[in-house]
């Protein structure tokens, strides 16, 4: 697409409109988008076309359309985070990621659906209704970034931005047959990323191929002085890594704990086949044991709710957002109470209460304090594993896409979707999911997770790029070509 643009075979405006047409045809079924910024996008596209015509040197992604997860602020454009409490809120500022995208001439088509405040693994917790998996509209697209991944799988956008706190980029990528990356913590600025769990959140690139993902990664990553937790180092050359396609001699670690009980047979089979491909490419497989991973889920469900209970305190109706109950007779506290009752969904309330509890005096050491220690142990497991191998691999998610409504009444069952992705966030390292086939039971996509050490994101792209190429030649066509055609799809 980028080549077509630079060769002027197509204009940015035409490209944007084509995608809007696709969205118009299929999004009534997929519901990936919460808001379409036609005016802004086309204005931006016109600008890009003008610059190109004038012979200006443009970024490789200039003119390429993108879907933005609705958790990132974009000035003047509604940003809801999938919640009623922010319905209609138009931020007065751009997140750093959006600034970078605009500077690169990327065309932001609109905001995508998500689990409310990024809490969930299915996008069923959105206050605006779920998104449907383009592979099977009765199934979830994953979460919390289901909208972004679904938009890619439905060809509504070629690029998307997601955010990942416990797997919210990687798990949707896995169940929609697309690629998603969570960079090393601090690799992409969190300024303007509405915070869920500050020490775990990361924004990341999503696309239909490893190379496209790398191109997007290059644009959005980098040091930001407005984010104290941002890495002050140059962005690794992930694009070169994605193109290299040579992994001979690399050591690939298979994590013992991320397999077995709870993992769908078809998922494990496809995973193992992909590992075999890596061997064919000249890599060496090492079995590693990370015993503390067993506690990762539990620790995550203490740390994330604790941080979110504090991060979400600002939603009190005083300065922005929903206000309920202000009839002149009620005091500020009561209005806050009523607003938050009306504005937050069940999962969000559940996690706020859980987090409030975990931080309470008397319980802090046992819960939050202990969870922080488990984090140290998980990091130690990864450090030890990475002395023996260059990257670690596992299935991204234990199952393929389940039916909408299947797990929504069982919070613990829902949380188990993140079992393989969470350790990565806990340690702050990089993680990628790319498609490795269709599970034989249901013909639904399976995701292959690659984990690289902190600040070595290029390794994920190196292995991912090589694997993707091998699988492509094995299948004869990209995995999305196996998806059932969506009604009205262009």
């Amino acid at each position: 697409m980028s080549t077509a643009l630079s060769n002027k075979q197509i204009s940015a405006v035409e490209l944007a409109n084509q995608h809007y047409e696709q969205i118009a045809s299929v999004d009534k079924d997929v519901h990936a988008f919460l808001y379409l910024d036609k005016e802004g996008a086309l204005a931006q596209a016109k600008e890009v076309d003008k610059k190109r015509a004038a012979g200006e040197k443009l970024s490789p992604l200039a003119g390429v359309p993108l879907a933005l997860k609705d958790v990132m602020t974009q000035k003047g454009v509604p940003t809801t985070c999938g919640s009623k409490i922010l319905e209609g809120w138009r931020p007065p500022y751009d997140s750093t990621v959006v600034s970078k995208l605009k500077n690169a001439g990327v065309i932001i088509l609109g905001k995508t659906n998500m689990d409310e405040f990024a809490m969930g693994s299915s996008t069923e917790n959105s206050a605006y209704g779920p998104t449907h998996n383009p592979w099977d509209l009765t199934r979830i697209p994953g979460g919390s970034g289901g909208g972004s991944s679904a938009s890619l799988a439905a060809f509504e956008a070629p690029l998307a931005i997601g955010t990942d706190t416990g797997g919210s980029i990687r798990q949707p990528a896995a169940v929609t047959g697309t690629v998603g990356v969570k960079p090393t913590y601090g690799g992409v600025s969190r300024y303007g990323l509405v915070a869920f769990s500050s020490s775990l959140d990361q924004a990341g690139p999503c696309a239909r191929s490893v190379l496209d993902t790398a191109l997007l990664h290059q644009v959005i990553a980098g040091f930001d002085p407005k984010d104290s937790t941002s890495i002050n180092q140059p962005v690794p050359d992930v694009v070169a890594a994605a193109k290299k396609l040579d992994i001979k001699g690399m050591k690939i670690g298979v994590v013992k704990q991320l397999a077995g009980e709870g993992y769908q047979k078809g998922v494990e089979n496809k995973f193992n086949e992909a590992v075999a491909e890596l061997v064919k490419l000249g890599a060496e497989i090492v079995e590693v044991s990370c015993p503390n991973f067993e506690y990762a889920l539990a620790a995550y469900y203490l740390i994330a709710p604790s941080e979110c209970s504090s991060n979400l305190a600002r939603f009190d109706s005083m300065r922005f957002g929903l206000r309920v109950g202000d009839d002149g007779a009620k005091g500020a506290e009561e209005v806050m109470n009523l607003t938050r009752q009306a504005g937050f969904g069940r999962e969000v309330k559940r996690r706020i209460i859980l987090g409030t509890y975990a931080l309470s005096s008397g319980y802090y050491d046992a819960y939050y304090g202990s969870a922080q220690k488990v984090r140290t142990l998980i990091k130690q497991d990864f450090d030890a594993a990475f002395t023996k191998c260059d990257v670690l691999v596992s299935p991204t998610a234990p199952t393929t896409a389940f039916k909408i409504g299947e797990k929504s009444n069982d919070p613990l069952a829902m949380y188990l979707n993140d079992i393989a992705t969470i350790p990565v966030n806990m340690a702050g390292i990089g993680g990628m999911s790319l498609p490795c086939g269709l599970a034989e039971e249901d013909n639904l996509p399976v995701g292959f997770q690659i984990m690289s050490p902190a600040m070595k994101d290029e390794r994920m792209y190196l292995v991912g790029g090589a694997l993707e190429a091998a699988l492509l030649s094995k299948w004869g066509k990209p995995i999305l070509d196996f998806a059932p055609k969506l009604v009205g799809s262009k």
Binding site: M72, Y93, Y191, S228, S310, A313, T356, S361, Y364
Partner: protein, 498 residues
Amino acid sequence: MSLNYDQAIATYEPTLGLEVHVELNTKSKMFCGCATEFGAQPNTQTCPVCLGLPGALPVVNKKAIESSILIGLALNCSIAPFSRFARKNYFYPDMPKNFQTSQYDEPICVNGFLDVEVETDDGMKTFRIEIERVHMEEDTGKSLHVGGSTGRIHGAEYSLLDYNRAGIPLVEIVTKIVPNTGKYAPQVARAYVAALRDILRGLKVSDVKMEQGSLRCDVNLSLSKTGSGKLGTRSETKNVNSLRSVERAVTGEVIRQANRLESGERIVQETRHFLEESGETRPGRSKEQAEDYRYFPEPDLVPVVPDAKWIEELKKSLPEKPADRRARLQTAWGVPDKEMAAMVNAELLDTVEETVLLGADPTKARSWWLGEISRVANDKGVLPTELISVKDVAQVIALITIGELTDKLARQVVEGVIAGEGNPTDVINKRGLKVVSDDSRLMKAIEDAIAAQPETAERVRGGNIPAAGALIGAVMKATGGQADAAKVRELLLKHLGQ
């Protein structure tokens, strides 16, 4: 039966604790680049960070860290090698994030002390106030309560919020408990806050104006029966906005608590509000359940690990301690304790020093500033330095010293400058106030006076010196009061052979 202070203090031992919040004078806020100017139009100095908008992130102001370390060093604290920010979680509309980014168990400075001097029945006594900690945090926005009966918080119909102040750096200085002050507790508290203020002023880290809120004091007090060895329940009093209020708040709380205890009631641990008019305290919001702040390390900020070399440099840059400076000036000027204290209390030490540095005699400088000028200033309800400049006062004193002005004339000159007639030279010229020191002119006046009162002159020639008074008076009248009376006397007596 209502105990007064003396009765209360005879039965009960007070234990003090003081928490002082200092607003730093950094140009920008603690966690963002918004300006910190006082008095700006509402919400003109805000941004996503200090408004707590979704997605905003804090970045620490380096100058604030530096100021905090300077404060700690000046208070003899240890600077923590590793220090962290923490979130203090509670809801209040003037706090945009509904948590305050502060410090909890890892503050930047710990374990210091400040010695203060208080006048007691047995002379000046030194009390050592131990400092528990100094830590960094951020200020809240300002709320205006509209409607209701008094415009005060109770009964207001709605509130208006201005977040210009939200995010301005605050440093909190907490003392350890201060026992053994006895009946001097109010004075010790006051002296501590005054001394602290002096130090902060000297460090130039804050403009420490209690009236403007850049220095805020919370007073904690508990009483225990003398000799019991057990500590009582403490109350915390806020809204103490001046040094005098600090003293009164302590006095008031001692009386209140003693009376309660005497009547068998227990003291409730609560926050109270100081009332300026009466000097009493009243209860703040009654909280049925305690607030749980759920502190945890701030995940959006990284630890502060001050470089040891940097701390050394800061240590070297510390200005002379106010107490040391006072001692030095006292010795240099030969001022007795009581007068030194008077100068300090009147906040005129700096002014007097500046006058002296311009060449004025210290004693004269003191007596002019604390005497005549202060008197007029008090009458007009302004500060002495608002009436007349240090330069002008130094000039007047210089003229007195060289004999061009008498004290009497000088008073008129000062009066004229205050009235806005110009600088001392202008006033002297306009009013014609120069001392008549021209001997020949004086002699003429003397001869005239003698000629007019020959019998009086005879008496003086005969040895009756006091009689010269009438002649001196006549000369003074003739010269419009501008003669130097002592000179006239000298010349007159000489002339008359005495």
